[in-house]
Symmetry: C2
Subunit: 344 residues, 2 copies
Amino acid sequence: MNAKGITEKSKTNENKQGIGPVETKYFTFAHTPRELMLESGERLGPITLAYEIYGTLNQDKSNAILILHALTGNAHAAGYHPEDKDPGWWDNMIGPGKAFDTDKYFVICSNVIGGCKGSTGPASINPKTKKPYGLDFPLITIKDMVNAQVHLIRYLGINQLLCIAGGSMGGMQVLQWAVSYPEMVRAAIPIATTAKHSPQQIAFNEVGRQAVMADPEWRDGHYYGLGVPARGLAVARMVGHITYMSDISMEEKFGRKVKEERPDKKFSPDSEAASGVRFLVIAFKSDWLYPIYQSKEIVRACKQAQLDVSYYEINSTYGHDAFLLEVDEEEHFIKNFLRKLSDE
Amino acid sequence: MNAKGITEKSKTNENKQGIGPVETKYFTFAHTPRELMLESGERLGPITLAYEIYGTLNQDKSNAILILHALTGNAHAAGYHPEDKDPGWWDNMIGPGKAFDTDKYFVICSNVIGGCKGSTGPASINPKTKKPYGLDFPLITIKDMVNAQVHLIRYLGINQLLCIAGGSMGGMQVLQWAVSYPEMVRAAIPIATTAKHSPQQIAFNEVGRQAVMADPEWRDGHYYGLGVPARGLAVARMVGHITYMSDISMEEKFGRKVKEERPDKKFSPDSEAASGVRFLVIAFKSDWLYPIYQSKEIVRACKQAQLDVSYYEINSTYGHDAFLLEVDEEEHFIKNFLRKLSDE
């Protein structure tokens, strides 16, 4: 989602003034409790959270906005790090005059626990073993992430946030904040997110995990200091990349390649030879892999060639598999088509 | 798509009489040319095609229907193999009284070259080296598959097919048949297919390939006789499985698991504490990973809790990435929302 390098450049706001140099800060639980009680019942500690701040907190501490990031994101939401030519992942939205206007608001971006971007996670040292946690790191939920962030907000002296905002997994934290700490939140902006993962979303994440775990460099999670499962991760990133884009945006991005394809590779029944074949084209409404617009293109090509073409769109929830499963309607259309043909 | 075991059971036709026992036959080019000139310019030979036939060819050989299969399919489209309790992959559509009625039509299902289901492919013996081709097997196109099938049809004594039909990659062969051999085809039924792969479709296939190639058992393609890249293949199949289904069909299939989820995991701002937080919910029309219906569910939950909620759907072609890229509209809605909030 928002890992630098994965997504394309911001469309606009490039001419607006930015925040300039920023740095990632680290907050470690210093007062009791130094540990966090997780949803699983396990205790985790010590806890460190990486975060960044932009703008100025006003006198009555009423202008604070908390930004929450997506799965592959980090605390560096805006401005520049000295060593890095790319700005933070939401720099086009956070800054003077921008959506989250740092001339008016004090903007905080908090990293999450359980990741690898500076906050306590599987790469942190397990105090019991003095080695990285690895697979011994407890399972972390969205609620655990939020329960850790509350300590950071209190540490910054803020009793109530003007607003919390985030996209994708950031939006899930937004929803959790609103449910768990409504007294600390005046307003919430969940963007491009869900209250509940669908099996499809769960499955795509599982593909990523399985791809990493299929890499021998994964070493059952004990890879610290021994190299990383880079090939598996590359496959996982590829899946992620496809899911973050759309069919159309990929067409636009890789458009040049598409234009370079050989013209004889196109379906062109209007070549003189093809005239005469009758077509019955069938497509399924929930088929997102071979969407109906592609079948309509076939129909259009047939019509341009003045071929006899019938087109049926079948209502189905089976996706691409529908052609193997929606037997009744398919049978009906095919039988009629073949009957007419045989009668001629 | 149609690999046995991947898809669910047929919805209907289970009470109709089936074809009964069938066997896969093998046709090897015996007459000149024994080789096939491929689109790439390479020559491939000897050529064997696996196929099955159902029903009876009539006197004037005018009732033949050619069925073409999808990526993971094979020649076994209908009836039963003695050793296998599952019928062929389109048994619900091919048989007495079914869509492709074997009481009326002579149905042929031809496998494709380039695969691993009985026809010439990378596992075949390369006559030059006396070893399996492996990665030395030439690149095969849809046109090459069809050019091989024409020899089978002529061998069966058929000058003109009543109809050709197939879904997915089978549909692509249908289109190619109609363009390359229109004089041999009276009618064509391309189902759930495309005349041209979109970059998204190409990318999903590339994920599958990369997953297999990331498996050390792949051994740069030299794995014959040494075990198979099963883990990589499992990841590839997982991706395939997701793309063949829909968001909704996965929900239906895995519905029980979903129902078992803990109720406290749901977004329920109507818990007494949450009342008072204002919501601005933003979703993007081309976001197929986090579809707009999920944002609408958040809005519905807010309204049920009588919370103040605004909802905006932004037109975008960027898919899920849109929340990082559609800055102008997002900025507009967020600025307005924050301005009203600050003015209170």
